[in-house]
Assembly symmetry: D3
Homo-oligomer: 248 residues x 6
């Protein structure tokens, strides 16, 4: 199967990291295409960054449709553009926050999230509410590190994340920790070893959930509110979307 892993930001180093993590975890028959939009923010740390990045995500889904794609992963913890992306395809589309919450709830009764900046905690809270996991999550914690610090060698980022994970383990009454950023995709093992309880990372979780749905023959429902968008004119920079049709 062709799996398109979309890094919603434009930092190619992060795309590589995410792609590597995805490919490593993928089943033998899964062909991972890790890409990023050409246009957008270098990192996603606000509602604004997220709204802009959604355009790139959707364009990458449209590109994926032209190439033939069996499943999509949106590799930013805010799941930007998730429901819109689902409208564009019959393939399953999985967000990494969503994937991590689902996986964590299958191996523990309660979990905490450790994310980068506290200002993005509200995004995780809204997703927890929408997806139904509000009561499974004890607490959304932040290590207070900017996303791109995760790209710097020797940065103190890992230590701070591990410290916050330890606090979560000791104070929150949980069984698992969810890592709240796509940029942590390569840290799962280090953190897990240090912290000593299951650490769930979204990119890898999303890859396996995507494979699972494809294996089940389940794609995004085209009955009801995730059907293809009604074709219509778009203007200006977005004019090309006028060509979208329901003939898929």
């Amino acid at each position: 199967m062709r799996l398109r892993v979309i890094n919603p930001n434009t930092t190619s180093a992060m795309t590589c990291k995410i792609g590597d993590a995805a490919q490593r975890i993928a089943a033998p028959g899964t062909n991972v295409v890790a890409i990023q939009p050409t246009d957008g923010p270098v990192s996603i740390e606000s509602h604004f960054d997220e709204a802009i990045s959604a355009v790139g995500v959707l364009e990458e889904v449209l590109a994926g449709e032209r190439e033939g794609t069996d499943a999509y992963v949106i590799a930013c913890f805010g799941d930007p553009g998730l429901l819109a992306a689902r409208e564009l395809t019959r393939a399953p589309v999985i967000g990494i926050a969503e994937a991590a919450f689902h996986a964590a709830s299958l191996i523990s009764t309660r979990f905490s999230v450790v994310t980068t900046l506290s200002r993005t905690g509200i995004i995780a809270e809204h997703l927890l509410e929408q997806y139904g996991f509000r009561h499974h999550c004890r607490r959304v914690r932040a290590a207070e590190i900017p996303v791109l610090d995760l790209e710097e060698d020797g940065s103190a980022a890992l230590d701070r994340i591990i410290d916050e994970c330890r606090r979560a383990r000791d104070e929150d009454g949980i069984g698992a920790i969810v890592l709240g950023c796509g940029g942590m995709a390569d840290l799962t093992q280090s953190i897990s070893q240090e912290v000593g309880l299951p650490v769930v990372e979204g990119v890898t979780a999303a890859v396996k959930l995507a494979e699972a749905l494809v294996g089940l023959g389940l794609g995004t429902s085209k009955h009801g509110d995730l059907a293809f968008p009604r074709p219509k004119p778009f203007t200006g920079r977005f004019e090309r979307y006028s060509q979208l049709s329901n003939d898929r």
Copy 2:
């Protein structure tokens, strides 16, 4: 005060209608600027349309900031880009779905929503959940008319909306009806007379709520998760956002 009413779609006839409704309801000292993005969908009837329209909304907020703006209204019932828009300004930003829900909850204990297409009902449901009004809304109903039918003279759209409102009144055990589309801004009075219970329309409600907040000296909090976005590079079409700074 300068009030910028942003029609998130690109249909200028709808912008005019919305602007007229806003100006008619505005206080004498309120200067309504009704605009629309140059780039985007002609109507918003899906998550995809909404995600794309958010870019235009945000650009119109940035434009408003350059001109000096005291408050913003986002005039599409899905409140596209609302939290992102709030990050960009100290001024209050009000979505019309949000405004209508708030107003309806102040004059009734339970209300129903009558929107255009049932496929967008899920958007209203998610907003009701996020804003806290899930239990105040008895039912989200659709008249099953495309948004742009509201722009056509002599269309049967009004009749269908009134029919659906009557069913809401008779079956739902409610005290008020919320009209679920910015394109209905000119229909409130006709519907209200026919249906005989309070009909809440979002554009007008948002204008008055925006005036109320400005009158109170309350703007979007810059403490915490609605603070200005951290400045950072954007690439491609969105490169200009790299200039955004916190010096506001």
Copy 3:
């Protein structure tokens, strides 16, 4: 418009303060009538005080109806008698707790309440639940000062409130603070300056929401469960209510 601001307790100094705050924030065309019941408690700090005060609130609404009133504000943070008051009039009726919650949720994603005594926190909690803002409020905090201490010059009350507001700001992960007592109506600015994030006060918020609803032509729904009470005999002290009729 005639706006009747009802202080549910019988302390006239507080009525003056509330009336001043209301008049200062009101639009030029708004004529504020600030009154208090002749019968009732001097302050409201328990369910009992609140239940008794509701009678005075309702009598002041009935008085307001005889005089012609366009909107009502109930100026105690427990919103005593709110739904009953709504039944008595076609005009909008706004409680100050309600108003403050609505306003705070429009400028922040999460807020905390700072009230007087912790024993009244449960009243705020029940209102948050009923109005839908349970998840928008991080915490209900008390400065542990009796209501009437707010009337004493040079009392330490202001300092304690400011201290509690600072703790809310630093510990709760919020964007705004709601002041939980009508007697704090004159303190908003001082507190806001000290604390450095938006401080929402209910009396002023209610005045502006009342003006907004009147401007929208929206009054309390008389369809369904807020219709005028069915006329019926009352006995004893309440006999005069036997005269209430639906001919309004």
Copy 4:
């Protein structure tokens, strides 16, 4: 034990009926005192009626305290003044709506309420939410009969209630029915026989719950938010409450 059953309205026929039902169900050692306020509405069918009736309820609790009372029942389905009443005494105070919900949830997983007028349904809904039984109640139904019709011999009221109960049984997927009015206290058996599933009536349920709490040595907590009200001056008609003290 002395059990004071307070009919919050002033219709003595209803007080008799309620008192009879209470005495019939009471344990041998329970001395039922069924009383009604001298001042208030003849029936309770609105928020307004309920707010006024709360005063009478509280006065009857104060009278009960002077006489020595072991437990109180508030015999109107809106539980008027319940939390305020609890503040006034160390004895347990049980509302009949509350009691019926508790009992129904112990013998079924889901129940429906059949009340008198649909306009009072919102009162039941708010109580279900506050008490925690929102999801246990499938539906609040109304037979659309005024409360005092229940006092008229040969009225069609019983038939209409039975009809509505049958619809609840057949359509709602429930295991029990809650009768939503104190005036139905004498109808339980007739309805139960006709309908063929458990019918829970609040007056009787409250009597037995009150006996249970007294038997357990449990009274209203005086720690925290149900402590005796802080003593303070009251004015006018309510001046006598100035004498209340904490010395109990």
Copy 5:
């Protein structure tokens, strides 16, 4: 009435203690039969223990049916097998967690639970959610003592429980404490005296609720989802259940 109090574990000392507590609190006409299964765990401290113990509970209900039983109490704080037990009888069946939550919510607005081991807190949380008391419970606390330590004279268990109760009283903003283990049935008074706020214990609460329901003539509904199980073959050790029939 015959009341069968089932201790779901197999420690007879605990059965005695529970039986004593039940008999002491029971009304004169209540004949308490306290028993325990012959097969099962000596204490219940996990989901596994609980699942196994449910079999014993159900067999004791079946035995109770053969002997004629008017009501059942399941005396373990996880309420093991509660809904299954209800299916087997027309009599009321009360779990002690359930009973304690109900009683605590009638005398306070908010309570905390103090249980034995933190690992069983999740069981209490799930029950609070299912029964509707999630928001009435501020916190589930554990004294971190194994259940059987409660059986040892001079153990430090009582002190640790009292310490945890004091912390609950001082930190949680509550009006009552719920003791979260059937093995604490003899400690209520000691704890209550030390802690100074109402302490609700489940065995005693369940006895009185069971008496209340029997007094009301209310038994488990046989309409709908608690009807007798459909008769069917069982194999192996459970073959005898093939004889169960609906002819009851």
Copy 6:
């Protein structure tokens, strides 16, 4: 990987069917062992059946542990014994109701459940609440067919299920249907073709989720409330559980 699929009832034909469905959907490297307890009910249609069947489920998990097992599926829609089973192993354990809800929520925004008998609907409702999917499920529907009718050739069961699925599709405003019984594992395709929207079946979904978790290296958390049960004596038939230890 070794995947143990436990049919909690004792009908071997159903075990075969479930095993076939599991093996067909499994990845090449997955070795499916489909088994059933020797002791228990032939079908599970009540809380009682479910409680008894949990014992067999747990014994099959213990047997699986002795043989070396990488993941478990509990193949009855009530997920009997799920949390207890998780305590017994480091491997992931997936219930089929849980799996189906998760999968359906990834391809649609709202779904309905079509189960066998309405009396088991409450089991699905409780699971939806506990897992967080209450608001994702529009309705739990029953085709009113006993479970074992699904085993009979030429029975009308399939037609009735398809009819109910069509009603769900047309009336519920959903994007997907969840089949609410392990015995429907072979019907997914037929139903899906007839009904024309995604049909999610739990056995197959659970197999793929189990593979996904194993692929991720995630097993049941042994930190906190799903840790191995504390070793302790069991009596009677369950004495062998006294041997369980934490040395795993």
